[in-house]
C-alpha cells in the first residue's frame, strides 16, 4: 500500500488558485521530490498534507486512512514528521531538549506534572542527534544555532516518533553544498533501509537529481510533469517553466 495518496487536492486564496487539484502518491521507501518555481504552490501543498491548511477540495490518504483536514497534532500522531521552510524550533530550549520534547509528546507523557523532564528520553534524543550529526551541540541553545544546524535539528525532531511519512520543506536551504549532500544521503538511507516515505521540496537541482526516485514538477498550482531525473531533464514543459519560453512576453 502507498504511504501517502493525494487526489484532486485543491486550495484557493481569494482569486488565486494556489493548488489546482493535484494527485500523486508516495510509496514506502520512496523519495519523491516536489519542485517548481517560486509561487508554484509547493509549500501550500505541504501545509495541506500535515493539516496546517484545510484544502478546498480533494483527499489526503495516509496509509489508507483519510486524514484530510485533520489538525497537525493529529496528523503527527498518525506518523507524519515534518520540517519547515523557515525553521521552527523551541528557542528557549537546548538542542537536545528540542528532541526530547518530541519524544515526550510521542510517548504521551505531556500530562506529567511532577517528574523532571530533563532526564527523560535523554539517551534516545542523543542518539537521534547523532544520526543528523548534531550530538556535539546537544547542550547549546537552539536559538543561537547556525541555519544549517537548525535544519538538521529539525530533521532530528521530525524523526523522533519514527514516522512513516517525512515531509521536508526545503531541507537544505542555507547549507553548504557538502552538508546538503550529507543530509539528503541520510534521508535516502532512512528511506531505503527503514521503508520511510519521503516527500520533499528543494531548489537545488543537484540535490534533487542526486537523491530523488521520482520528481513532480508543479507550476502555478498544477502538476506539469512527473518522472525520474532523466525524464524531467528532457521534458520541454519543465524547461519552459524554469527557463521561460518567451510565450509570456508575446511569443515573437
Amino acid at each position: 500500500m502507498n504511504a501517502l495518496v493525494v487526489s484532486g487536492l485543491q486550495k484557493r486564496f481569494g482569486g488565486v488558485m494556489a493548488v489546482a487539484g493535484i494527485s500523486f502518491a508516495v510509496a514506502p521507501g520512496e523519495m519523491l521530490a516536489l519542485i517548481g518555481p517560486n509561487g508554484a504552490g509547493k509549500s501550500t501543498c505541504f501545509n495541506m498534507l500535515n493539516g496546517q491548511l484545510r484544502p478546498d477540495g480533494g483527499r489526503v490518504m495516509l496509509a489508507g486512512r483519510d486524514i484530510t483536514g485533520l489538525a497537525p497534532r493529529r496528523v503527527f500522531r498518525l506518523g507524519v514528521g515534518r520540517t519547515f521552510q523557515i525553521t521552527a524550533t523551541f528557542a528557549s530550549m537546548t538542542v537536545r531538549e528540542n528532541v526530547q520534547m518530541a519524544l515526550l509528546s510521542h510517548a504521551g507523557e505531556i500530562r506529567r506534572f511532577w517528574r523532571p523532564a530533563a532526564a527523560m528520553h535523554a539517551a534516545e534524543a542523543q542518539a537521534l542527534l547523532a544520526r543528523v550529526g548534531m550530538d556535539g551541540q546537544a547542550h547549546r541553545a537552539a536559538g543561537v544555532l547556525a541555519y544549517g544546524d537548525l535544519k538538521r535539528l529539525e530533521l532530528a525532531v521530525a524523526l523522533a516518533h519514527a514516522p512513516r511519512l517525512l515531509l521536508m520543506d526545503e531541507p537544505t536551504a542555507g547549507m553548504a553544498p557538502a552538508e546538503r549532500v550529507a543530509l539528503m544521503r541520510l534521508a535516502r538511507d532512512l528511506a531505503t533501509t527503514g521503508g520511510l516515505a519521503v516527500l520533499f521540496t528543494e531548489h537545488d537541482m543537484d540535490v534533487v537529481f542526486d537523491v530523488a526516485d521520482r520528481i513532480l514538477v508543479l507550476a502555478r498550482g498544477e502538476l506539469i510533469a512527473e518522472g525520474d531525473a532523466a525524464a524531467i531533464r528532457a521534458d520541454t514543459r519543465v524547461r519552459q517553466v524554469y527557463l521561460g519560453s518567451g510565450v509570456t512576453t508575446g511569443g515573437h
Partner: protein
Amino acid sequence: MNFLLLQALTGLAAASSLFLVSAGLTVIFGVTRVVNFAHGSLYLLGAYIGWSILTRLPTDPGWFVLGILLAGAATALLGLVLETTLLRRIYRAPELLQLLATFGVVLMVQDIALKIWGAQDLALPRPRWLRASVILLGERFPQFDLALIAIGPLVLLLLWLLFTRTRWGTLVRAATQDRDMVAALGVDQRMLFTSVFALGAALAGIGGALALPDGSANLQMDLSIITDAFVVVVVGGLGSLPGAFLASLLIGLLQAFGIVLIPGATSILVFAVMAVVLVLRPHGLLGRAQPVSRAEAPPSVVRAAPASLRWAGVAALALAIAAPLVVGPFALSVLTEMAVAVLFAASLHFMMGPGGMPSFGHAAWFGIGAYTAALAAKSLALPMPAGMLLAPIVAGTVALLFGWFVVRLSGVYLAMLTLAFAQIVWAVAFQSTGLTGGDNGVLGVWPAAWAADPRVFYWLALAVCLGATLALRRVLGSPFGYALRATRDSPLRAAAIGLDDGAIRLAAFAVAGACAGLSGGIAAYSKGSVFPSFIAIGHSVDALLMVLLGGVGTLAGPVIGALAYTGLYDALLLATDLWRFALGAIIVVLVLAFPDGIAGTAQRLWLRGREA
C-alpha cells in the same frame, strides 16, 4: 417606545465621548504599537485643564467651544512632552513593558493632579444654555447630549479626511500597515510618531473636557475611562478607526440599555459582548492580524540555577524561618505579606513567562480566592483550613471556565480580556453588597485558634506560599512545563510534534489562577478582612511589576521581584505621601534602565563571557 428612543439617544451620546477617547488610543496604537495606559491620564488632564480654563472664561457657547479646544491643545502639548521624553525610548520594548511604563505615568499624573487640583470632584457651573433641553416625542432630552451625538460622527469624518486627503495622513496609514517599510522609504518616523501621539492626546483631552458638563473632573476618571476605551479598541480591532467607531456605538448602547435590563451588572453585559466578539473574531470587529515587525530577541535558554544561587536561596529560607524569633510584630506582618506576594507573583509568572500569556487582570484570581476564604469563614462558618483549601479550588475552577475564552487570544488582546474580566469581578464584589459588603468589605476573618499567634500564622503562610511556589517551579521542569514553553516558543512546531496547545495553555491558566487564589486565601486570613481593592487594576499591576522587576525570563525572577517590590512599596508608603508619584517614577526608570529585571540583569552579567 419613547423611553427606548431616549435611552438610545443617551447611549449614542455616551458612544460619542467614548469614541473621542478610543479614536486617539487606537490611532496611537496603530502607528506606534504602544498600548498607552496613560491615555486615561490625558483624558483626566483634559478634564481638569478644561475646568480651569472654562471657569475663567465667559459662559457663552462660543467661549465654551474655545475653552474645550484650548484644553485639547494643552493635552496635545503634554502628549508631545510625554512622547519625546518617554515613549520614544520604549517603542522597541516588549508590549508589557510599554504598558507598565505608561502605567507608571498614570500613577505620577494622579499625584500631580491631586497636588494641583485637590481631592474633591470639580463640577462645572452649568449656565442656562448647557442645562437646556429639547422636547422629543413628549420627553425632555438635554440639548448638550444632542450636540455630543453629532460630535462623534463629525470627528470620524474629520479624521477620515485627515487620513485620506493629506500626505501626513497617508504616511500614518502606511505606518499603521508596515512601519518598517515606511522607515525604509526615508520617512522621518520620529516626527510622524510624535505628531500622531499629539493628535491622540488632543482627542483624549477634548473627550475629558467634554465630560465636564454631564459630570465632573475627578481623580478616578483615568482608570474608569481607560477600561472602557480598551474594551472599545479591542472590540473594534486595534488600530482600526472605523472599528473604534462601531465598537463605541455598540458599547455605548449596550451600557445605556444594560442599566435598564440588568441594573448594576452592565459591565458583565459589556464583558460578555467583548468575549463573544473576540472568540468569533480574535482581532476585533474590523481589525487585522498585526504584522510581526519587531525583531524580538529569542528567549534565553532556561537552565538550572548555579550552585551559588541555590545556596543563597537556602540561606534566605533559613533566615525567613528564623525571623519570627527576632523581629517585632510589624516586621512580621510585612514578612507575611511578602510570602503572599511571592506566590502571587510566581503564579502570574507561570502563565506569563513560560506560558507567554501576559495577564493584566491577575488580581481577579487573588480576589476570588480571598473572597472565597472570607465568605467560607463568615457565611458558611467553615474552619480556616477548609477556607484556605476552597480558595484555590474556586479560583482555579473559575479560571478554567474563563480560560476557555482567553487561551484563543494572544498578546495585547489576551491582556485586555483578562483586564476586562478582572474589572467584572471587581464590579461584582463592589456591587453585591448583600454578599460581599460592597466597599466595606468582609471583616473579621480571623485565623483558627491554633494559628492565632502571628508567628504561627507566619510560619503557616510561609510553608503554604513557599511550598506552592516551589511546586510551580517543579511543574515548570516537568514534561508539562516544557510543553507549555514549547507552545510559547513556536506554536507551529508544537502542533507539528503533536502538542495540543489550547489544552496546555488552558491547564496552565487554571493552575496559575488556582495558585493566585491560594495566595488570596492566605491574604484574607492574614489581613483579617477582604476588600474590593484586592481585585482593583492597581493590584493586578502590582503582580506584573513584581514579575517584571524580578525578570520574566528567569525562574528566580518572580521571587526576587516580589520581595523587592513589597519592600519598596512599604518603604515608599512610610516615607512620603507622594508614594504614587514616587512609585510611578521608579517604574518608568526601571523600564528604561533594566528591561530584563533584576534577576535577568544579574543573569546577563553572570553569563557574560561564560556562554557562546
